[in-house]
Amino acid sequence: MIPISYLVLVFLFGSVVSYLITKANRIVGAIFNFLLTFYALFVLWNLEIGHTEKLFSILEGVENTFKVSSLGKYFSIISLIVISLVSFFIIEWIRKKPSRPAAFNAFVLIMSAGIIGVFFSNDLLTLYIFWEIAVLGSFLIVPMGKEDSKKAAVIYVVTSAIGSYMYLFATFSIYNKYGILEFDQVSRFLLNEPSNLFKWFIILFIASAGIAKSGIFPLHTWLRITHGNAPDAFSAILSGQLVKMGSYVLAISLSVFPSTKLLASFYSGVPLLNYILIWLGNISIIIGTFMAIRQNDMKQLIAYSSVANGGYILVGLGVMNSIGYAGGLFHVFNHAIAAAMIFLSFAAVVYRTGTTKIDEMGGLIWKMPWTFVTYLVGIISLAGIPPTSGFISKWMIFNALLTKGMFVTLTITFIGSVGSFLYVFRPLAGVFLGQLKKKHYEVKEVSPVMLIPMLVLTLLTLFIGVYPKPVLDFIVSIENSLGIKPIEYSGTIIKTSLGQWDTLTVFTMFAVGFIIALVLYIIFPRGKKVELTDQYTGGEYLFNYDLYHYATGFYRFLERLYDKHPSFEKLYGMLVSFFKSMGEIINELFYKVSPSGYVFWISIVILILFWVRW
């Protein structure tokens, strides 16, 4: 198998090749993209742990190397699954949608090169380099979406720049203090580091890159605009996978630098730093859930759900006991797959109907049944309902919080999971169920090329939901490598201190119940098929069937409870306009002045200088 550095180079040059091919013919370019990503997935699948490769060396004394850690391999395999399936989806999707297909394909490859680099880099600087390459790649694709995706792209890059520059600041202070940057060496130095303040500063600043990227509380505002307006298939990659880079950095800052051993425990085994990060996760769960319930644009709704799920992952990772950490990692897998599934089904819907507003659509289930099935299984997994894999990770996080006795966080996770029933149901009711709008009568199901990746993801979720062994093996190997007590499970029974459950019996019992209901359904007389337009509405007969469809303001009564909510977007907007107005004043004062103004400033400078010297 070719080493990783060659893989990254193949991707970088591949992007130029795919640019040329897509210039010639879109479909062939997209196929080339898919084959490349699939080959990369194959290569990554059978990479053995511990395999290291030396790269260049920028700062002397620091060897930039790639090292395959189990954590990196886990994250990269999830990412590659998502990217390869989405690029399979793009083969059909590219026929009509992005304004510049050639650039689109090229930048997807650049981004995936960055991603592979991030997950396998063995020291802070290489991680930063590939991190910026991934940001550059994804930044160039975002503006191809709807009209205010251009503003979204700038906000996206600025927020991730804030995070990554704090990360860079921490990297250089480590380099300045110790002279080394490899993860294990840094954690060894941090262990016997006297000053507590320095440890806090390092972990918080490194975690800030993760916070910015996975949309945790203070830096979460970019998610709504970017996911809402990016080109549809790309927002699947954006939310399914790029957000996971943030979780990867969070995982590093919390587990690779062993936070439990570094800092004194503050509340039942959880250090104060983790506690603060958990609280950031909590706030982002609340914001994500309650804002998602309000949204009328389906993609922005799921974007807010990514904020909430990012919060879940952070809470899971923050708790740092074996079950909690495993729950966090498992949730990374679930959210990646579920978000990719949901966004792909939205891409299919938008591909056919052209709009993302929920109340402009309705009854698409009759025309696009398979997209509906994907969306249904996706939201079942996102909301964490048993037969699918989404529930396992939430169950682990609940157990971890319960053993630690952190009741407020437990409440917020409950609010998050029950709230997720509400906001995932809104597009289901608004977009797929109900009467079909007149303008969507001739909408057809999406072509099989787009359906295959969606159905593959559906089967994957259900399979892992019933038989979570492959993912659990990965998590156990990660926990062993990081020195956390691994979770114990046998076959499909997952055991924790609080109790155990068996995914298989739950699934079989659900199937048995379904069969009983089916038998009852068949025995008794068949119902007569009646058109959706024949409804009981108090004897009245509406000729305009669109009026039947109840989709606008689906939870209006709940939203009215928190209409006047503090919005952080407005806060950051004010901040930016403050900077701009300051810039305006400076411009007026210093740069648009008449000559006498210049002389005035010269004399001021002279006075200051002379006053300073005496």
Binding site: W395, F407, Q435, G499, V512, F514, I516, G527, Y536, F557
Partner: protein, 294 residues
Amino acid sequence: MMTIIRVAAVLLTGFFVGLTLEGVSRKIIARIQRRYGPPWYQNFIDVFKALSKNGITHGWIFDFGILMALGGVIATLAFVPLGDLVAFPGLDNLFIIVYLFAVGALGMAMGMVGSGNPNSSIGVARALTQMLGYEIPYMISVSAVMYYYKTASVSELMLSQQDSWTLLKMPLGGIVAFISLLGMLGKKPFDTPIAPAEIASGPMVELSAKYMGLLMLMHTFSIFVEIGLFVDIFLGISNYWTFLIKFTVIWILATLISSVLPRFRIEQVVKFYWKVPLGLAFLQALFVLLGWVF
């Protein structure tokens, strides 16, 4: 083989006891209103009468929703231990039961909205909001109990009430759980989703014959799940028969309360649940943390 028998036993008890108790509750309400009320087996007749008629359907999603609802609730019921009758001994984790119940709720919601009637969509939206309301206090009070006994399996929770009932140990938690139980059952103070006067019996608007029958079955099973959980966790050790007695007592108590109270508006439901019960639940959790348990 034993599990199949046990599961069948649980389901049959759910069916028979559930329907008789519903008939009993209708008789009690009638008695309160100083009239005779229907015979106790009236609900059996209603169910079979509904199943025997040939109604209408609005497409495959409408049928699939009902089947998923009934299947989910049957699966949840299988996991609930009725006193000492436990279908799956080690595997009855409380989170599984609560979230498997959500499968039923989601299935019903999907089916009802699939019927395309605006009344049913409004009803479903109200049902989900109400669920958001009562679920949180319920889960906190129950997790306080779980934290105290250090186990999440329902049967163990029941068995660990050696000395006295959890209801006596944690009265606040018990009260909160009972209030959210009323919300779960959809009894009068909290039956905004099925408000017959406002939205023509909410989600069940388009449910004609057979589907109405299946839904009544589902309703019976869900009552059994909710009260069964409450009895197991809060009302001490009980074998099969004492479990049924406690079950009927709680059921009658709930019917008495619901027969005299008017209906909440949906905003009031959420606001009520997040003020009084949530406060009490947090208080209870604090007491458990501090170890002040009677």
